[in-house]
């Protein structure tokens, strides 16, 4: 029976825990109730409210691709009360999940275009969903380029998948770490993401740029893309405002007339420029 209660979470069992980086973990989650699993679907870019009962809820994207069926994944950094409780969970434990919420990356509209993914640090997870979604439908897109940077080599997440993307002939992957964050054997670039992007000089011709990262990275990346001729409506990003309800009621993620949880989290730069800078 459909619940009347918008706040009642699904029960999810932690199937697998992957340690990605210091304090960063990925959970693979499966529905405890098989019927809910069958009825559930989401699209790339959407997010959810993950909860440890007794501790509260926390908002992250769904980091897996909708093309990978039967489970969802989330990646989070242990930072506050809820994420610390999550980090203390073991495989087999049951947590709560509400979702999927929010809008999507319009990947159908991107068919026939080149894709340029630019991510920093812990912001690769939302992009990982859309990267795998597009790679699983590889014939729909032309060149796929991924630029990913983190503070240090240890802070790079999804190390196995980075290796996989590096070895794929149909993906161009550039990884970078901040100056001082390299290890003796580091073979990637050294420098901040906007600097490396500037050196790469990607063509803006028929290309969508998707940018996710800490506010300071985003701030310095947009001008580089503008210099290369990317129009504002070809640049996509996600906003990470604090949320509680996820369904446009609690007021917390309100920016201008927009609710990030309903109208976002995915926005084009053109849309962002119409909003007050309260994000």
């Amino acid at each position: 029976m459909e619940s009347q209660n918008l706040y009642l979470p699904y029960l999810m069992r932690i199937e697998k825990i992957t340690n990605e980086a210091p304090f960063v973990k990925t959970f693979r989650l499966k529905f405890v109730n098989e019927e809910e699993s069958t009825a559930f679907n989401f699209r790339t870019g959407q997010f959810g409210e993950y909860s440890v009962f007794g501790e509260g809820e926390s908002t992250f994207c769904i980091a897996s691709a909708p093309t990978r069926l039967g489970y969802i994944e989330c990646t989070f950094r242990q930072a506050g009360r809820v994420t610390t409780s999550l980090a203390n969970c073991d495989e087999g434990d049951v947590i709560g999940f509400r979702g999927p919420y929010g809008n999507i990356f319009p990947i159908d509209e991107w068919k026939g275009k080149n894709l340029l993914f630019i991510a920093g640090g812990i912001a690769l997870p939302p992009m990982r969903s859309v990267i795998w979604n597009c790679l699983d439908l590889r014939e729909n897109y032309k060149d796929v380029t991924i630029l990913y940077g983190a503070r240090s080599v240890a802070d790079l997440v999804y190390k196995n998948e980075l290796e996989e993307w590096k070895n794929r002939p149909d993906v161009k992957l550039v990884t970078t770490v901040d100056p001082g964050g390299e290890t003796p054997g580091w073979k990637g670039e050294i420098g901040f993401v906007p600097t490396i992007l500037d050196k790469m000089v990607p063509s803006a011709e028929n290309t969508i740029a998707i940018v996710c990262g800490p506010p300071v990275m985003i701030k310095f990346t947009f001008p580089v893309l503008a210099k290369m001729g990317f129009p504002d409506d070809m640049i996509y990003t996600t906003l990470e405002n604090r949320m509680k309800c996820g369904i446009g009621k609690c007021g917390r993620c309100n920016v201008g007339k927009v609710y990030v949880c309903k109208d976002g989290p995915v926005f084009t730069l053109a849309e962002l420029k119409k909003l007050p800078a309260e994000y």
């Binding site: 209660n5 918008l6 009962f53 809820e57 405002n241 604090r242 309260e278």
Partner: protein, 323 residues
């Protein structure tokens, strides 16, 4: 009151509690503060309580058992003697809780509530309902409205089916005079002090104006304005864990609190009080009108009366209209 008691519904009415007047359950008319201009807190707590359970859970030997809150056996309420601004405040709350998805935690409570408002025959300098499309005799969202004619007689307007059903319980007290008196003469005089569309237009156009900073210098971010407001609906969700079981609660919150938008990283999108004051006004007078086609203010003036540093929203809105 005897007739209403006979309905088996819980009657909530203004009751004096020391210096305050609060909406409380009553059993007899003697308990009701009919002379009070306005309750200290708004009537929103009846459908959107200061805290309420959104779910409960039990820890089992293996796993966890979340439990729904029972929304089908809620008590039926009569709000008796609330003011027109409180009654129409439910319009804003409904707009918020019922846009896009239907929040039954709120809607079911409203469904079980019959609103008997009393038109205002007094007002004070903080009242400005007439400037936000309300008025001392506004019937919006009331099921029945009483207007005091003299010590013995009221003009009774039965406005909805719910009102009709309730009025049946006291039909013996009603008579149908050949000529109805003009309601206006019994109402408080509340002058219009600004043009609402001008406030909306000026607020929207002046996001970067220094007036927000000037107006908010005094604000200490205590959130009292949001707590007494009949339309403020921002909330928090928190868990409370007892032994082997617990509850998830929805609690009133305020955009005026510095923690409201604070990220775990330390980044705060509205990092100073002037941003938060601007958000409060913009949400009510710009974003809600555009998004939900309704103004998030009833002009009750409670926020100004409750403000410990005497920020007067009426004066501030007049200033904004004059930008």
């Amino acid at each position: 009151m005897d007739s209403l008691n006979g309905t088996g519904k819980i009657i909530m009415a203004p009751v004096r509690k020391g210096k305050l007047v609060e909406l409380e359950p009553v059993n007899s008319s003697g308990e009701i503060a009919f002379d009070a201009m306005l309750t200290t807190q708004s009537a929103k707590k009846t459908t959107f309580p200061r805290w309420e359970k959104v779910m409960e859970y039990e820890q089992l030997q293996k796993g966890i058992n979340p439990k729904e809150v029972d929304l089908d056996t809620l008590p039926e309420l009569i709000l008796f003697g609330i003011r027109p601004c409180d009654a129409s405040g439910f319009r804003s709350l409904t707009a918020i809780f019922n846009w896009d998805s239907a929040d039954q935690l709120y809607l079911k409570k409203l469904e079980k509530t019959t609103i008997v408002s009393f038109a205002c025959h007094t007002a004070d300098e903080y009242c400005f309902c007439t400037s936000v499309e309300g008025g001392p005799g506004n019937t919006a969202n009331s099921d029945i409205q009483f207007t005091r004619v003299n010590d013995d007689n009221f003009l009774v307007e039965i406005l909805t089916e719910k009102g009709q059903a309730l009025a049946a319980s006291f039909s013996g007290l009603l008579s149908d005079p050949a000529q109805l008196p003009d309601k206006m003469q019994f109402l408080a005089d509340v002058p219009i002090v600004f043009d609402l569309k001008t406030v909306t237009g000026k607020a929207t156009a002046n996001f970067e104006h220094p007036t927000w900073l000037q107006q908010s210098y005094r604000c200490i971010g205590c959130g009292a304005c949001a707590y007494v407001c009949p339309t403020c609906a921002c909330f928090d969700i928190q868990d409370e864990h007892l032994i082997r079981k617990g509850v998830r609660l929805r609690l009133w919150d305020s955009c005026g609190f510095s923690l409201f938008t604070l990220h775990t990283s330390g980044h705060n999108p509205r990092e100073v009080q002037s941003h938060r004051w601007r958000q409060r006004i913009m949400h009510k007078f710009s974003y809600m009108p555009e998004r939900l086609n309704i103004t998030g203010c009833e002009g009750c003036g409670r926020c100004s009366r409750a403000c410990p540093v005497d920020m007067n929203i009426k004066e501030h809105l007049i200033t904004i209209a004059e930008l």
